[in-house]
Structures are given as structure tokens and as C-alpha cells.
Amino acid sequence: MPKGMFVDTSICTGCKACQVACKEWNALPHEPGHFRFDPVEKRPVAVNFTGDSYDNTGALGATDWRHVRFIEQFSEDRSLGRWLFSSDSCKHCNDAGCLNACPTGAIVRTDLGNVFIRQEVCIGCKYCIPSCPYGVISLSEVTGTVHKCTLCNDRIHNGLGTACAKACPTGSISYGEVAELRSAADKRLAQLKGLGYGEANIYGYKEAGGLNVFYLFLDRPQVYGQLEAVVVPQKRLPVSSAVTIAGALALGGAALVSFRERGSMEKDEEVEK
């Protein structure tokens, strides 16, 4: 039975407890400092700020397996405002581009449905990195291998939930059986629609074969930085291969024409002589 997470962004407060819990449990290095002493100015200067609301990592990466997005929506005269939050991570796709692309079998799906990178097998070829449509996987220069969220592989295989879900103070992130999470998500969506949130939607039922980590958004997925039309890259492999083979056949035909025609033409000339 696949396990996963349901992220109800409507009750997320952007506290980043999930980011911290993830770093702690998985022993990921901290972010670079936000201030640096400038020897010329002789005072601390601000560095490493994204300038994008309260976002402190900007993206998912080898040491950032959770990324809380902050979306500020204001009307032109700023009389109306809304602040949306969304805690993002690897979605553990059922049709996972990274897993499909891995040439060594380092990326595997476990019995609980999570996509897991076996660090001792990964060779650092980096092909999974552009193969993930969500920009999740990144290379670590320290280990020479790629890293991403494991769905707390060690915890969930010992009966615990994920660290981020455990730390979430509002229940925005919940961990469990995907089927149960889906029915809870449907109920919550119906409730929100009833409260007048017409744009509310669930993201992750159809995308990439279904996402084991899926979301409830109050606005279009694009607003939260998620793809509205996901194409798992390997879906294009048959056509891409076929066109390449056609190119090779065209060259074979060119060779047949060039080498044979010229040969026989000149033979004819010799015969005429």
C-alpha cells in the first residue's frame, strides 16, 4: 500500500517547522549565513536573501528537501491582500522521471511507494537532474551523488510518519496511506468550495501517473509554482528514437545511392570506352 503525504496549503502558516524538521532528521547541512562581515564597509552586510517574500532557499536542492513558498497577492491599490503558503518537496511520482532515467538502478521505489536514491549505488551521472519535471533532485558536490527527499525512508519503514508531517503544528502536512489521504483531501476540498473558495483544487491525482505527495491549493497550481501540464520526459522516448532511426536510415539510403550509383555509372563509362 503506497504511503504519501497530503499538503493542505489552506491551513499552512509558513512557519517552516517542516523545513527545520527535515534538516534535523536527515542531518542536512544548514543554509549559508544571512549576514557577512564586510571588511571594506566594516559592518555586517546582508547576503543570501532571496528577495522573494520569506522564501529562504528559493528552490529544492541537494540539502533542501523541503521548500516553503510564499506567494504575496495584492490588488493594484493594495487594499486587498492574500498571503499564500505552500510547503513543497519531492512528490514521489508514480511515473517518476528520475527513476526512469537512472542508468544504474540507484533510484528505486520501495514497497511503500516512495522513490529512494541509494547513495551507495549512485555514480553522479546527473541524468536524473534534468529528467525531473519538478526540479527536485540536485547533485551534492560533497558526496558526488544526487539527493532528494526520501519520504523519510528510515522512519516510515519503522512505523513512524515523516519528520515534516510530525513537526507540522497546523496539520497542513499529513502522512498516511495515499487512498485514505485522498478521501480526506476530497472532503476538505468540498468543505472549502462550500465556504466560497471556488478556485480551490487538488493537485496530484493525474499528474505523472499520480503523485504520492499531493496538494490542496486555493489558487491555480501555477501560482504555487507547480506545472499544470506535466510531461514525464520518457513518454517522448519512442518518437525521439524513431526519428533518430529514420535519420540513420536516410543516411543508409544516401550511402546506397552515392556508393552504388557512382560505382555503376563509372563502370558504364568504362564499358563505353
Binding site: I71, P103, E120, I123, G124, K126, Y127, T145, T244, G247
Partner: protein
């Protein structure tokens, strides 16, 4: 705001150079095979030259590939499963299938290289030379050529089958483009060696010239079609140094100019065979253009 698909960080001096050298080697090999299969004895020197070029060049490529890995010592995981030790292939991953194709191609290129040495009498004293010459040359040349087409083309499929905007938008043409470029650069390498060995009066050259021109026409067509197909996503190929490399280097100097110059020379000169120096210069232009094609394509997909 849309998610930024991460860049792999493939270095041009490793990955793009592998794409290029692998393409030249594979191109020289399949030209050698096709010339022998379709052209017979008249084209024997061309196929011999192709087989001489292919093996030493493909030997250069594994170090390039391995050097780009984050964990180079684990390169063998590409062929053997790290846990079970059994041979491993992932049919959905062009990188996995390509590793096996490269191994197969290298093996066949080695056999053809040996065969050249044996048939030229350079390996006569070796005890296996006699037994060796009984293996039908054409069999492994055909197997090697199929692997060679794969080696030249899968590098383009690798780029196309990703989620990076430029590489995804040029799908499905880059594989075929790289095969055509492999043919044209492989032909240039054969030309260069034959010029150097003063074989420009070879009876096989007229047919070879025609093949070379057809390959360049296909390459030009695919390069332009790829840019048209990509539309706004082709932007990284349209600005700065990448544009100079692609349009100036790969398309103009590496394909169009040699095509026109080669055609002009064969039309105007008394002999159908171009002068030695010009032939060498054009061949070098084609090779540099082929390298710039790979570098610009690998780079354009990784521009943030």
C-alpha cells in the same frame, strides 16, 4: 512562477566533447561499412580509412564520460548492477542503453581495426592472424555500424528526453541531427587522413563526396527544422556566444561553407578532386563545426 527544472551541470569539455568524438568515430565506422557493403572494391580504401579512425577515437571517450561523473570510481555501475553484480540495463534510459552500445561499438571497432592490420600484413607474425581472418569481416562491421548509429544518435536522444525547456522543445530532432553530424564529421576525418596519406586520387572519392554532401544537406535541414520547431524555446541558441558557436561555427563554417566550396571546386576544377590543401582546410572546418554543434547544444539546454 513555474518550477525551474534543474540543470545537470554537464561540462562541455567532458560531455559535449564525448558527444563529438563519439560521433566522429561512429560516423567514420558506419561510412566505412556502408562504403564496403554498397560500394565494393572501389571504395575499399575509404572503408579501410574509416576503420583505422574509429577505434583510436572511441578509446578516447570513456575517460571523458567517467571524468564527468560525481563518483568516477563507480562507473562500472553503468554496466553491472551494484548490488547483484549481474549485467544491468534500463531500457527507458538512453544513458543506460547507450553505455552498452558504446561497449559493443568499441568491441566491433577493435575487430575491424585488427582486420585492417591483418589484411595490410602488419600483423602477419601474430599467431592469431590466420585464424582471425576467417571471421567474416562484414558481419561485425554490420553489427558495429548499427551500434555506431546508436552511439552517434543516442547522445541527442539523451538531451531530448529531459524536462529542460530547450532540450524538450527540440525533441525529437536532435538524435537525427547528431547522426547526420556524425556522418559529416566522420567523413571529414576520413578525408583528412586520406589527404595526409596523399590518397586524393582514390577511385572511391566521387561517390564518397556525394554521400558527404547528402549528409551535410540532411544536417542543415535538421538544424534549421530544430530551431523552427523549438520556436521561442530556441532563445538560448539565438543570443551571445552560443549563437556564434551554433550559427557561425556549426551551421555556416562547419556545414554550409564546406558544402558550397566542395561543390564549387568539383564543378570548376579540371579534375573532380579538390586540391589537397583546400580539402584539408574544409575537413578541419567540418570537424570544428561538429564540435561547436555539440558544445552549443549542451550549453543552450543549461542556460538558466
Amino acid at each position: 512562477m513555474s518550477p525551474e527544472v534543474h540543470v545537470p551541470g554537464w561540462e562541455w569539455y567532458y560531455v559535449a566533447m564525448y558527444f563529438f568524438i563519439g560521433g566522429v568515430s561512429a560516423g567514420a565506422y558506419f561510412i566505412g561499412t556502408l562504403a564496403e557493403l554498397f560500394g565494393g572494391e572501389r571504395h575499399r580504401e575509404i572503408s579501410r580509412t574509416g576503420f583505422y579512425i574509429a577505434f583510436p577515437l572511441i578509446l578516447l571517450t570513456p575517460p571523458l564520460l567517467i571524468a564527468d561523473l560525481g563518483r568516477p570510481a563507480r562507473f562500472w555501475h553503468l554496466l553491472f548492477h551494484a548490488k547483484s553484480g549481474f549485467p544491468y540495463i534500463n531500457l527507458q534510459s538512453p544513458l543506460s542503453v547507450g553505455s552498452w552500445a558504446l561497449l559493443l561499438f568499441g568491441g566491433m571497432a577493435f575487430l575491424s581495426f585488427l582486420d585492417n592490420l591483418v589484411s595490410e600484413g602488419k600483423l602477419q607474425s601474430a599467431p592469431f592472424a590466420k585464424a582471425y581472418s576467417r571471421i567474416p569481416r562484414k558481419w561485425y562491421a554490420v553489427v558495429g555500424s548499427i551500434a555506431g548509429f546508436f552511439v552517434a544518435g543516442y547522445t541527442g536522444v539523451i538531451l531530448n528526453v529531459t524536462a529542460r525547456p530547450f532540450w524538450a522543445a527540440t525533441d525529437p530532432l536532435v538524435g537525427a541531427l547528431f547522426v547526420a553530424s556524425g556522418a559529416s564529421t566522420g567523413a571529414a576525418a576520413i578525408y583528412l587522413v586520406m589527404t595526409w596519406r596523399k590518397q586524393l586520387a582514390d577511385p572511391g572519392l566521387p561517390g564518397f563526396d556525394l554521400f558527404d554532401r547528402l549528409a551535410k544537406l540532411l544536417e542543415l535541414f535538421l538544424a534549421v527544422a530544430m530551431v523552427v520547431l523549438a520556436g521561442k524555446y530556441a532563445a538560448p541558441l539565438m543570443k551571445g556566444f552560443t549563437a556564434v558557436m551554433f550559427w557561425g561555427g556549426a551551421v555556416l563554417l562547419g556545414t554550409l561553407l564546406p558544402l558550397v566550396a566542395g561543390w564549387y571546386v568539383t564543378r570548376t576544377a579540371e579534375s573532380r578532386i579538390p586540391a589537397e590543401r583546400l580539402a584539408a582546410v574544409l575537413a578541419i572546418l567540418v570537424l570544428v563545426g561538429g564540435a561547436l554543434l555539440r558544445i552549443s547544444m549542451v550549453h543552450a539546454g543549461q542556460v538558466q
